[in-house]
């Protein structure tokens, strides 16, 4: 045994060292026979801590990464491997001899611990007199490699999780909060995200040591925090040890955090410019290691990319919203005692605009005494068609004073469209509405468009006898305007061919068609404008089901039932005429 290549120590049943070989003597020069085990560097044999074979799995998964991270320092391996402390220092409470090596362990199960900063696996051989010969097999390198592997796995897991959580949201505020939360959870005791400076205030999102997130605008300059101004400009981070934790301004430290032990300030790299800065705070006694700092940099890279993408999306969608606002169909209300309602459904589910359009303009005509409703359809779908609808709507708006002559409006619109660079054409229908007592007087003109349908009180449905050429294609256009009268409860429906040409039905492949539309309208006698629209829209939508369809647009013009002077917007209580 004396010549055995491994250190061997024989421990008696009473817990005292009986014998040791040369290798053991070299490893532990202070060790003498008859030493009580708990006073020796091998005190951990008393703990009976099993060596699970894979030393890496001794920690619970819930252990925080920053704690594990510290073990990365070779000097600290011992702290991890042998909680009882190395070399007898701070050994646990003494145990009685009988407990020294639990009977079960004296068999084949090995124990793990450290001696002098090196990691060992102790394998027992029971001897006849109740003593145990412990063979110490060094596994420092293996253990270190396993620890490193586990740490890298943890970090990879964190990066993957951080990426997937950060990338799931394209909302900048949410992304910022998430960055602060993740950083505070895994990298530090508290984390602060500083958004790029706009104006005199610093937009600051703090996740404190208890996981609470708050967002405030702090009246401060970036220079107040060492390294922050640099980080916001995208410079490489300053090493943590250069930053004096005492210099952290009060606003940086969450309430109840205590004194700051160390801080890391790192840039959140965005698309070309920094998307902000990340500040990590730790309490006293737990400085950031170099490896931790570089990992914080990796995390910041992920977070910065996600934040920049979210900001870009927010900017783009705000831009699109602004541009699109003019192209969206208006919300219709009652206008001067006439009920108007409309509905619009673009061809694509992801779209909000398309080639159909409608508008209702009060105070049209030379005397501003009529309301003009327009509904039209630009050839084509999607954004390009939508842009042309915007031009047509603007042009028509400008032509409102001439609305007493529909034919002239259509001619002028046709000229305007021919002289533009657009090659698309359009169809439209104009309806001028004037209230005559309880009745409505209508003038209706179709320019290449399906003629309006009128639902009478008895449920019969008439097609207005107006015809005309499409606009934007020919130099000469002709239209025929007709007049109609709506009694209370009667409705005039303007629609685009997206409704009638909708293909589907329960058996599939069947067109919705005019007959079906007329039948549906027949059931809508006496209904308010919104209800008519709703009914037709629902029928057509259910008809197409999940299938493809063209843009659909509907406008209903209804003479209110009963002799009421209605509130103009239809939302106030009604008043009866005397």
């Amino acid at each position: 045994m004396a010549a055995a290549p491994y250190p061997v120590v024989v421990v008696g049943a009473e817990g005292r060292v009986q014998e040791l070989n040369d290798a053991a003597g070299l490893l532990m020069p202070s060790l003498r026979p008859d030493d009580a085990l708990e006073t020796t560097p091998l005190a951990w044999l008393l703990d009976g801590r099993e060596d699970p074979g894979d030393p890496g799995d001794r920690r619970g998964p819930e252990d925080r990464l920053n704690r594990q991270d510290r073990r990365d320092d070779p000097d600290r391996v011992a702290a991890a491997g042998a909680p009882a402390g190395e070399a007898g220092e701070g050994a646990g409470p003494p145990r009685s001899a009988g407990e020294a090596v639990p009977a079960g362990l004296a068999g084949t199960v090995g124990l793990a611990g450290t001696v002098g900063g090196r990691s060992f696996s102790a394998r027992p051989t029971p001897l006849d007199d109740g003593a145990t010969a412990w063979w110490l097999v060094e596994d420092t390198d293996l253990r270190r490699a396993t620890d490193d592997l586990r740490l890298e796995r943890e970090r990879t897991r964190l990066l993957v999780e951080a990426s997937s959580r950060l990338l799931s949201s394209l909302n900048p505020e949410r992304c910022t909060r998430l960055t602060a939360e993740l950083a505070a959870q895994y990298l530090a005791d508290a984390a602060i995200v500083v958004a790029p400076v706009s104006g005199r205030r610093l937009p600051v999102t703090v996740c404190d040591h208890e996981g609470r997130v708050t967002t405030t605008a702090v009246r401060a300059v970036p220079e107040a925090v060492p390294g922050l101004a640099e980080a916001l400009r995208g410079f490489p981070p300053m090493p943590s040890r250069w930053l004096d934790p005492e210099s952290a301004p009060d606003w940086l430290v969450p309430e109840g955090f205590g004194r700051v032990g160390s801080l890391v300030v790192t840039s959140l790299p965005g698309h070309g410019v920094a998307a902000g800065a990340l500040i990590l705070l730790r309490r006293r006694g737990a400085a950031f290691t170099e490896s931790e700092e570089s990992f914080a940099g990796l995390f910041a890279g992920r977070a910065g990319t996600a934040l920049a993408a979210a900001r870009l999306y927010a900017e783009q969608s705000a831009l699109a919203d602004t541009l699109m606002r003019e192209l969206l169909p208006p919300v219709l209300h009652q206008v001067e005692g006439v009920e108007f309602a409309g509905a619009y459904r673009p061809s694509g589910d992801a779209e909000r605009i398309g080639g159909d359009f409608y508008d209702v303009h009060p105070a049209a005509g030379p005397d501003e005494d009529e309301t003009l409703a327009v509904l039209g359809d630009v050839c084509g779908k999607g954004l390009e068609a939508a842009v042309l609808t915007g031009r047509i709507r603007n042009t028509l708006h400008a032509l409102l004073p001439l609305a007493d002559d529909h034919g002239r409006v259509v001619k002028l619109l046709n000229n305007a469209m021919l002289s533009s660079h657009h090659t698309r054409f359009a169809t439209l229908v104009l309806a001028s509405v004037r209230r005559r007592g309880a009745h409505l007087a209508l003038r209706l003109t179709s320019a290449g468009h399906p003629p309006p349908l009128i639902v009478r009180r008895d449920g019969s449905v008439e097609e207005a006898d107006t015809r005309g050429s499409i606009v934007g294609a020919l130099h000469e256009v002709h239209t025929r305007t007709v007049t109609a009268t709506l009694a209370p409860g009667e409705t005039c429906l303007l629609y685009t061919d997206g409704i009638t040409e909708a293909k589907g039905g329960p058996l599939g492949g069947v067109m919705f068609g005019e007959e079906r539309l007329k039948r549906a309208l027949g059931e809508c006698r006496g209904m308010p404008a919104e209800a008519v629209i709703e009914r037709v829209q629902v029928l057509a939508s259910d008809w197409v089901g999940d299938g493809r369809h063209d843009d659909m647009a509907l406008v209903a013009i209804t003479a209110p039932r009963g002799a009421h002077l209605t509130a103009v917007d239809g939302t106030g209580p009604g008043r009866y005429t005397p």
Binding site: S164, R165, S169, L170, N171, R174, L178, A310, Y313, A314, S317, A318, D321, L328, P329, P330, V331, L332, A341, G342, A343, Y344, R345, D349, A350, R352, P506, L507, G508, R519, A520, G522, E523, C524, G526, M527, P528, E530, A531, I533, E534, R535, Q537, V538, L539, S541, D542, M552, L554, V555, P560, R561, G562, H564, G570, T571, G572, P573, G574, R575
Partner: protein, 475 residues
């Protein structure tokens, strides 16, 4: 179609043996106006007056534009609601076809007096049960009369008077307007109201909601909530009641209305970053779509609270589909959001985890064959019942729609793997038909034909057998 067999009942062949749901215009089992809720619990579910979505049977919703909402989903001029039902009056009732021979093309079943109107839910109080004795009860009764008469102005005046008399806005919303909408559904089911009437009533209720005072802007909110209906869901009123309730209680609400396509909802979430999405659906056939929407919202990091009859009276389908919360009605939803806000969704959540039974591919295959199945059953019925060929086009269409609904509910039941969803739909349909004087024995032949088509699918075949058994016990 494969071989054709005799109808299971041994009654003498009737002159029109498939009168069924098919022919009656408003009796289409699609029931969409008020689906059976779920699991047959539509009836038992007890209509809370202020249901987030109508419990079981109540009718629709419908919404006009609500201030501040943006026109998503192409319903700018007014959200809408649908019933997916056969159009009402134009076609005459099946009962008439069965008993009187072809009837005229106009007139609702009610007009023509084909059947004594049987109450859909005997024993159910005429107004919402939850608040039937509340101070709002008499106001709700008066509002009902105005709505029934389609008198919008009287309805708006009543709301104004109720507010003046001291009712607060939430009470008006949930105990006056809510119960009236509830009753619209009940009256429809009992064949005392046509689909068109229902649309009109919904439009009036919607205007009444718009007439309520807006909560003062305080600048401080409890948080931000997006309220939306699932794609294909047109019953917007329950969602609107929730949106208004939350507004009144101090939340910042984005109300997106009926029929919100998934991409719109997700884009909206990214733009506004709400704390929670409240998703409403009353049609169980929309459950697969609802599931996609729930998963998409959670994927964007926002928890989802589900509500509406589609999710079951006890919210079982909300849990099944992985929703983070469920609420039976608007008040409960508001309480839940305030006191127990749904947590951030699980990150490792994959839609497949919720529904392991989908691995057998039956749902996928049957859903994909939806149209073909409808066609096959339709032609099979024509073969069995030559009289059907003599139907007018509109009647044939009703029949096809009814088959479409049956297949739709079959597919939904496969998706959630719950036979009660399918049997509940069938028994509810049978009751609706009975209310219209149409014998429910018109349904089994369609189930037979479906089973012939779907013999290779054990889960589907079992559903169809359950359906037939349920019809036998209820008839």
């Amino acid at each position: 179609m494969t071989a054709h067999s005799e109808p299971p009942d041994d009654s003498p062949p009737s002159p029109c043996p498939w009168p069924g749901p098919g022919v009656d215009t408003e009796a289409a089992p699609g029931g969409a106006a008020c689906p059976p809720g779920t699991a047959g619990a539509g009836r038992g579910g007890g209509p809370g007056a202020d249901r987030f979505a109508p419990g079981g049977g109540s009718g629709g919703a419908g919404a006009t534009v609500c201030g501040g909402s943006e026109p998503v989903a192409g319903a700018p001029g007014g959200g809408a609601r649908a019933d997916g039902l056969a159009p009402g009056s134009a076609v005459g009732s099946a009962g008439a076809v069965l008993t009187d021979g072809p009837g005229p093309d106009t007139g609702t079943a009610r007009d023509r007096g084909t059947a004594p109107p049987a109450p859909f839910r005997p024993g159910a109080p005429p107004l919402g049960q939850d608040h039937s004795d509340g101070p709002a009860r008499s106001w709700a009764d008066r509002l009902w009369k105005a709505v029934e008469a389609a008198d919008e102005y009287a309805a708006l005046d009543l709301v104004a008077q109720a507010l003046e008399a001291g009712l607060d806005a939430e009470t008006v919303l949930l105990e006056m307007i809510g119960p009236v909408q509830q009753r619209v559904g009940t009256e429809w089911a009992a064949n005392r109201m046509s689909v068109a009437d229902e649309h009109a009533a919904t439009a009036i209720n919607d205007r009444a909601i718009s007439a309520l005072p807006r909560p003062p802007r305080t600048g401080r909110t409890l948080g931000r909530v997006t309220v939306a209906c699932v794609d294909g869901e047109w019953h917007a009123l329950p969602a609107r009641l929730l949106a208004e309730t939350l507004r009144l209680r101090g939340w910042q609400v984005d109300y997106l209305g009926a029929h919100v396509p998934g991409p719109h909802l997700v884009a909206h979430i990214h733009r506004t970053g709400p704390d929670t999405v409240a998703l409403s659906s009353s049609l169980p056939t929309r459950l697969p779509t609802a599931h996609a929407a729930i998963t998409a919202c959670q994927g964007a990091g926002v928890p989802v609270m589900a509500g509406g009859a589609a999710f079951g009276p006890d919210g079982r389908y909300a849990r099944l589909l992985g929703a983070d919360a469920w609420a039976p009605d608007a008040r409960a939803a508001a309480e839940r959001l305030l006191h127990r806000p749904p947590a951030r969704p699980r990150r490792d959540h994959r839609p497949g985890d919720d529904l392991p039974h989908l691995k057998d591919q039956e749902y996928t295959l049957v859903a994909r064959a939806h149209r073909q199945l409808v066609r096959a059953v339709f032609h099979g019925l024509e073969e069995r019942f030559p009289a059907m060929r003599e139907y007018r086009e509109a009647q044939r269409e009703r029949t096809a729609e009814d088959i479409d609904h049956i297949v739709g509910f079959l597919v939904a039941a496969l998706y959630v793997d719950d036979p009660l969803l399918f049997t509940g739909f069938l028994t509810w349909t049978a009751e609706i038909l009975t209310a219209r004087g149409v014998p429910a024995r018109s349904l089994p032949p369609a189930l037979d034909l479906l089973e012939e088509q779907l013999r290779d699918f054990p889960r589907t075949s079992a559903l169809l057998r359950d359906g037939r058994a349920a019809l036998l016990t209820c008839s």
